[in-house]
C-alpha cells in the first residue's frame, strides 16, 4: 500500500530561484493493483517516485509505503520497495550473479536464501545462460532482466517503476510490461510512471495525470474518459492538461 498526502518538493536553483517540482500530490495505491502516473517529461513523475522510494526527502507533506513513513523510517521503506527506473543501472564490472547477491546482502538476506532466490529468479526470467557473465557485456534485454532480479531479490511488497521501458526495443519493453503484470498478480502494490499512453491503457487499474508538479486528474481509465468526454487516451490527456494550463 502507498499513501501520499500533499507531497511537495521544492528545489533551489541559483539561476531560476525556487522550483516547485511537485506540489501537494495526494493519492493511494493499493495491493494487487497498478497505479499509473501519467505525465509529460518534467511533469514531476520522477521526483514523486524518488520521494516514495526515499531517495529524496519531501519538502512538505507525507507518505507511507508498506505502512512505513518515508521521512521517519526511510530504511524500512526501502526494505519493502523494489525500485526500477531507466536511470538505475548495473555495476558493469560485476557479473549478474554478483550484482544480485550484493543487493541480497544489502537487504540483509542470508547467503543460502540469496542462492535459492537467484535460482528461482533465474529460472523465471530465463537468465541461466548469462548469470555468470559481466554486466558490461550484456544486451539491453539481459540488463533489464538482471535489474528486475535485483529489484525482486528481497521480495518487496511494493514495486515502483519509473519509466522502465524508456529507450527499450519492443520485445524488451513487452517483457517488462509482462513482468509488471505478474507483480500485480502476486498481490504487490505497483506504481508505474510513464508518458506512453498505450502502456497506461494496457496496464493501469487507476491513473493519476500529473502536470507541472500537480496531480490534476485521477481515476480509472473509464472515469477519465467520461470526465474528458473522449475515448482516445491521448485526447483525454491533452484535454485534462489543457484545462489545467488554461487555469
Amino acid at each position: 500500500m502507498i499513501e501520499a498526502h500533499h507531497l511537495t518538493k521544492t528545489f533551489k536553483d541559483k539561476k531560476r530561484g525556487e522550483i516547485h517540482a511537485v506540489e501537494g500530490v495526494s493519492f493511494r495505491a493499493e495491493p494487487g493493483r497498478i497505479y499509473g502516473l501519467l505525465g509529460a517529461n518534467g511533469a514531476g513523475k520522477t521526483t514523486t517516485l524518488r520521494m516514495l522510494a526515499t531517495l529524496l526527502q519531501p519538502s512538505k507533506g507525507s507518505a507511507t509505503v508498506a505502512g512505513f513513513d518515508v521521512v521517519r523510517e526511510p530504511e524500512r521503506v526501502r526494505a519493502n520497495v523494489g525500485f526500477l527506473a531507466a536511470s538505475t543501472a548495473l555495476y558493469a564490472r560485476l557479473t549478474a550473479r554478483e550484482m544480485i547477491t550484493y543487493f541480497g546482502d544489502l537487504n540483509g538476506l542470508s547467503r543460502p536464501e540469496i542462492k535459492e532466490r537467484i535460482r528461482r529468479l533465474s529460472a523465471d526470467l530465463d537468465m541461466d545462460e548469462f548469470l555468470d557473465r559481466r554486466c558490461d557485456k550484456f544486451s539491453t534485454g539481459m540488463k533489464q532482466k538482471t535489474s528486475i532480479a535485483r529489484t525482486l531479490i528481497h521480495d518487496p511488497a511494493v514495486m515502483i517503476f519509473d519509466e522502465p521501458t524508456l529507450g527499450l526495443d519492443v520485445m524488451t519493453a513487452r517483457a517488462i510490461v509482462k513482468f509488471v503484470r505478474e507483480c500485480r498478480d502476486r498481490g504487490k502494490t505497483v506504481i508505474y510512471s510513464t508518458h506512453v499512453m498505450s502502456e497506461v491503457e494496457k496496464l493501469c487499474d487507476r491513473i493519476g495525470i500529473i502536470h507541472d508538479g500537480r496531480l490534476c486528474a485521477e481515476g480509472t481509465l473509464a472515469e477519465l474518459r467520461a470526465r474528458a468526454g473522449e475515448q482516445d487516451l491521448e485526447e483525454v490527456f491533452v484535454k485534462i492538461v489543457g484545462v489545467e494550463d488554461a487555469k
Binding site: 529524496l56 536511470s87 538505475t88 548495473l90 564490472r93 554478483e98 550484493y102 544489502l106 535489474s147
Partner: protein, 414 residues
Amino acid sequence: MSWHNIVTVYLKELKDSLRDRRTLMSTIIIPTLVIPLLTFGIGKVMSVVMSRAREEIPTVAIIGGADSPGVVAELRKTPKLKIVPLPADWKLAISEKRLRVAVELPERFEAGLKAGSAPEVQVYNYSGELKSDFAARAVERFLTDLRERTVAERLAERGLPKTMAVPFEFRRENVAPPEKVGGNLFGGLVPYLIIILCFSGAMYPAMDLTAGEKERGTMETLLCSPVARVDIVLGKFLMVLTGSLSAMFFMLVSMGLTAAIGGTLMTSTGVTRIGAAAGTATKAAAASVLPTIDPLGLVGVLAMVLPVAVMFAAAAFTVALFAKSYKEAQSYLAPLMIIVIMPAVIGMLPGIDLNARLALVPLLNLSLVCREMLSGVWHWNYIALIFGSSCLYAAVALALAVRMFKREDVIFRA
C-alpha cells in the same frame, strides 16, 4: 551504523576496483614502478651522463698567449685538456657548445709572472652547462697548480719555507652515522613520494566510486537499498583509503627491494663497465639514490602517514562526490594535486625546521617530522602535536564526506 553493511559495501567496492584498470594502475602498478624507475631509470641515466661528462676531454681555446710560450706549452701538455685553435666567433662557439672553454692570457703574462706582478687570467665558459663547467674547473685546476708552483718557486728563491704561504692544512670529515646523513639528505624525498602516492592512490578509487557511479547510474541503484547512507559512505571511504594505503605499501615494498637488490647490482656494474674512476662516481650516485635510512624512522613515518591518508581519502571522496562525471571529478582533483605537493616540496627545502606553528600546518608538518624521524631524531612533543592535529583534520574531512553524501543536491546533481 551497521558494520555488516559497511563491510558488505567495502568488499563489493574492493572486488569492483580490483577489476578496474585505472585503479590498479594508480594503486599498485605505478607505486611499484616509481622507485625502480627513479633509481634505475633517472638515477642510472644521471650517473652515466655525469661520468661521461667527466670523462670527456674538453676543448679549450687560448686567447692571446703569443708572448707566453711556456704557459701555452704546459697547457698543451695537460692530458685533461684539448687545446684547439681559437675560432673567430669564440663566444658564440661556447654558447653553441662547439667549444667548452676559452682562457685569456693577458699580454706579457709570463714576463709578468717572473717580474712578480699579478696579472689576471680570464676563463670564459657557458655557466650552468655541465660539460663547460667541468672544463672550466679543469682549466682552473691547471691555473691553481701553476699559481702554487709559482709561489713555491718564489719562496724557494728567497729561501723561505713552504709554510710561509700555507701556514696550516685543514680537512673535513663526516661524523654523523650514515642513516642520519641519508635521513637529512633524503628524509624529505621519502615523505614527498609517500604524500604524492597516497593522494594519487586515493584519487582514482574516489572518482570511480562517486562521480563514476553517478555517471553510470549505479549510485541511484545503490541508494535504493535499505542500507543507511552513512554505511555506504564509510564502506566506500574504506575502499578509497585502501587505495591510498596500498599505493604507499607497494611503494615501500618496491623501495626495500630496490635497495636490497638494486644497490649491489648498480655498484658492481658500475665498477666493471665504466672503469675504476667512473665506478667510484657510480657508487656515489647509487648511494645517493639509495640512502641509508633508519628503519625505525620508517615505521614512525608510516604511523604519521595514516591519519594523512584518511584525510586524503575523505577529501578526495568529498570533492569527487560533488562532480557529475568522472571527467569533472578529474578536473577538480588534478589541481588539488598541486596543492598537496606544495607543502611537501617546502618540507624538502633545506633550512626549514620544525616548530610549534609549522607542526599545525597539514602535510608540511608531516614532511618535516618525517625528515627528522628518518634521521633518527624523535621530537616527541612535536610528534604528538602533529599526530593529534592530523587526526583532527582527518576527522573533519571524514565528517564532511558523510555530510556531503547526505545532501540531495550533491547526490542528484545534474
